[in-house]
Subunit: 356 residues, 2 copies
DNA sequence: TTTTGGCACTCTGGTTGTAAGAGTGCTAAT
DNA sequence: ATTAGCACTCTTACAACCAGAGTGCCAAAA
C-alpha cells in the first residue's frame, strides 16, 4: 500500500486528512496530532489509523513534526499540494465587492487608486498589502503644456492616461518666449498624443541627434524643450510600489521574533529583490502564490506572497498582492487578491473611458 | 544635610553623580549600581558613599530602582533635570551640516523637502522622524491656470509658494469656453496673487453670496469656477505629517515588546492625538522635549519626543521632531532636530527667494 | 561630620530535577 | 485493514537552589 502511495499519489482518504490537517493548522498554529485529527476529520477512524496515514504523508514530505512528540504541520510541499488540489475558495460576499467598488470608484488619480487598493488589501486580510506602480511603458502621453513662471523657470504640465497629471519645473539654458512655448506644446501634442512615454523619449533622442536641417525651426525648438521635460520624467521614479499594513505583520506570532521583523522590514526598504520577484508575476494573469522559501527570497522565508497582475486595456501593467505568514487563510486571501486586481484594473481603465 | 538637599536643590557632587548615572544608563540600558558609579564618576569615593547620595537622589524622586537589589535608573524628573541643567550638547560636525544641506538644497518641491527632512532625522538618529505639513494658512497663492481637458473636465493648475504646484480636475456643471477660462484665470491671478488659500476661500464664499449685480460678468464667472477649484483644495488634506523610520524603533529592546509596538504603531495611524500634541509645539520656537508620560499621551509612555518648529518668513508654520525611547542620546538628538528645523525652513524659504 | 568597611538581607537569573501531558512508533490482536 | 496497548520521547511547567549584584544600615575611621 505504502508503495502505491508513492507511485500514484495519495488516495482519497489521505488527501482528505491532509486537507483537514492543513486547515486545522492554519486556524490554530499548533502542530496537529493524531487524536485531534481523528476527532476533526469526521471519518470515524481511530488515532492509531490516523497515525499510519500521517507517517505516510510525512514520508512523502507533505507534513513534518517539529519534534518526536508533537503533532504534524504542513511543509511547503504540503501547502503547495493543499493549495493546488484541495483548496476550496470561499466566494466573496457581494457586500465586500460593493465596498471595494465604493472605495475605488470615486478616486480620480492613479496615485490614490493604487494607495487605496493596497489599503483595501491590507485591511481586509490584516496582512501587508502591496501594489506596484504601472509599468512606465503603460503611461501614454495625452498632452503637454508649458507655463512660464519666471525668466528661467518653466512649469511643465504633463497629462497622461487621460487623467493623470504630472508637474515639473525645468530650467532651460536658452530663452523661450511665450509664443514659442505655446507652439512647442501644440507641436508636441499633435505629434505624440497617444504614444507612451518610453517611446517618446526614444523618438526625442533620435531626433536630437539627427541633422537639424531636415526639420523646421519650430520642431527643433519644440524638441529641445521637450527633451528637457521628458528627461526629468524619465529619471528614477521615486518609488516602485505602494506598501501598506506592514505593521499588521506584527500581530502574527510566528513572525513576531523581533529579528525576523527587522529583516523583513529592511527588505521592504531594500526593494530591489522584491521588485524583481514581483516583476516575474507580471507576464501572466491570474493569482500566483509563493509559499515560504518558494519565492527564493530569504527575508520572506516564513511568509507567503499571494499576487495577481492588473491590466489596463487588456495589458498587464502592474502587480499587486499580499504578504503574510505562510499560515494564512488562503481560501479567503486568494479571491480578495483576485478581486482587487480586477477592480484596480477597472478603476484605472474607467477613467480613460468615461469622462465623468 | 538631607534637609538642605530638599530645600535648596542638589549640591555639586550629587548633580555630577546624577549626570554620570544618567549618561551611563543611557548608553547601557542597565540600572547602574553604586560600584559602577564610583568607578565611573572619577571622584574617588567609595561605593558606600555613593550609596548615600543615591539614596538622597531617590528621595528626591530623581532616580529609582526597579527592585531592591538592582542599580538605579533615572525617573522622568531625573531625565528632566538632566536635560534642563546638566546636559552638555555636542556641537555637530560641519560634515553633517553640509550633508543635510546637500540633501535638502537640490529638491524643488515641498513634498520632497519634507520627506527628506524626515528621513534625515530618522536616519541620523536611528529613531522615528516626523515632520508636519506646513499650516494651510502659510500656503500663499501665486497663480492659477485652467486647462480644458474635455467638455466637462477642466484641469486646474494651482501654483503656490512660488514653487509648489497642485493639480485637480473639476467638473463644472455650467459650460466654460476657452476664452472664459483664460480671462477667469487672469482675473484671479490679478486679484488674489500673494494671498493665502484660507483667506482666498473666505473671500470667494463672501463674494458668491453677495448680490451679483455689483460685479461685472467676468468676475462672476471667475468666482464661480474659482470656487470649485479652491473648494477641492480646501477639503481634507490627505495626511497631517510625514513619518519615517518607524521601523527603527524595533531595534530598541525597551520598546520591543510586541504589545508596545502595536500600540505605538496604531497610534501613528490614529494621528489625531499626535497632531494635537505637535500643534502645541507650533507656537514658540526652539527645541522642546517631552519625556515619557510628560506628553500626556499614553502610547508614548516609554518614549521621548524631541521637537522643534520650523519657519517660513519668520512665521512658524510646522513642527518636526523625533520619537524614540526615553533612553536616547539627547546631547546628539537635540542639535540634530534643531539643525533640521533651521535647514528645513531655509530650504522652503529659499525656493521663494531665489529663482534657481 | 563625613567617609568608609563590613555585614546581613533581598531580589534576579540561571541551572537542575521532577512530574505531567501530549504524541509518536511499533506490535500484536481483532 | 484497523485498532488497542504500551513503551518511549520530547516539551513544558514548576519548584528548589545557588551565585551574583546591589542595597541599607551601623559602627569604626578619618
Amino acid at each position: 500500500m505504502n508503495e502505491i502511495y508513492k507511485l500514484s499519489g495519495l488516495n482519497e482518504r489521505a488527501q482528505h486528512l491532509l486537507k483537514v490537517l492543513v486547515e486545522r493548522y492554519i486556524s490554530d498554529g499548533q502542530p496537529v496530532g493524531s487524536r485531534a485529527l481523528s476527532r476533526e476529520a469526521g471519518l470515524s477512524l481511530s488515532p492509531a489509523t490516523i497515525r499510519n496515514v500521517m507517517a505516510d504523508l510525512e514520508d512523502l514530505g507533505l507534513i513534518t513534526a517539529p519534534h518526536t512528540s508533537a503533532g504534524r504541520m504542513p511543509t511547503v510541499s504540503g501547502y503547495r499540494f493543499f493549495i493546488d488540489s484541495l483548496l476550496t475558495v470561499k466566494p466573496l460576499q457581494n457586500e465586500i465587492i460593493h465596498q471595494f467598488q465604493r472605495d475605488l470608484e470615486p478616486l480620480d488619480n492613479a496615485g490614490d487608486i493604487l494607495e487605496t487598493a493596497s489599503r483595501l488589501l491590507s485591511d481586509m486580510t490584516h496582512m501587508a498589502g502591496l501594489v506596484t506602480l504601472p509599468r512606465r511603458e503603460a503611461v501614454t502621453f495625452r498632452m503637454i503644456e508649458f507655463l512660464p513662471l519666471s525668466e528661467q523657470r518653466i512649469l511643465v504640465i504633463l497629462v497622461t492616461n487621460e487623467q493623470e497629471v504630472q508637474n515639473r519645473i525645468i530650467h532651460p539654458t536658452k530663452q523661450f518666449s511665450a509664443s514659442e512655448l505655446t507652439s512647442a506644446a501644440n507641436y508636441l501634442n499633435a505629434v505624440y498624443a497617444g504614444k507612451d512615454l518610453v517611446t517618446i523619449r526614444e523618438c526625442l533622442l533620435h531626433e536630437l541627434q539627427q541633422t537639424r536641417e531636415q526639420m523646421n525651426q519650430e520642431a527643433i525648438r519644440a524638441t529641445e524643450i521637450a527633451d528637457l521635460a521628458f528627461q526629468v520624467s524619465g529619471q528614477k521614479r521615486k518609488k516602485d510600489f505602494v506598501l501598506t499594513g506592514e505593521m499588521n505583520l506584527l500581530d502574527f506570532d510566528e513572525l513576531a521574533s523581533m529579528e525576523r521583523m527587522r529583516i523583513l522590514f529592511s527588505a521592504f526598504r531594500q526593494k530591489e529583490d522584491l521588485v524583481h520577484l514581483l516583476d516575474r508575476c507580471l507576464e501572466s494573469s491570474g493569482v500566483k502564490i509563493f509559499i515560504g522559501e518558494e519565492s527564493g527570497y530569504e527575508p520572506l522565508e516564513q511568509c507567503s506572497l499571494v499576487t495577481a497582475s492588473y491590466a489596463i486595456d487588456d495589458h498587464n501593467v502592474g502587480v499587486l498582492g499580499v504578504i503574510g505568514p505562510t499560515r494564512m487563510k488562503y481560501e479567503r486571501v486568494i479571491p480578495l487578491v483576485d478581486l482587487t486586481a480586477k477592480l484596480l484594473g477597472a478603476a484605472l481603465n474607467h477613467k480613460s473611458l468615461s469622462p465623468s
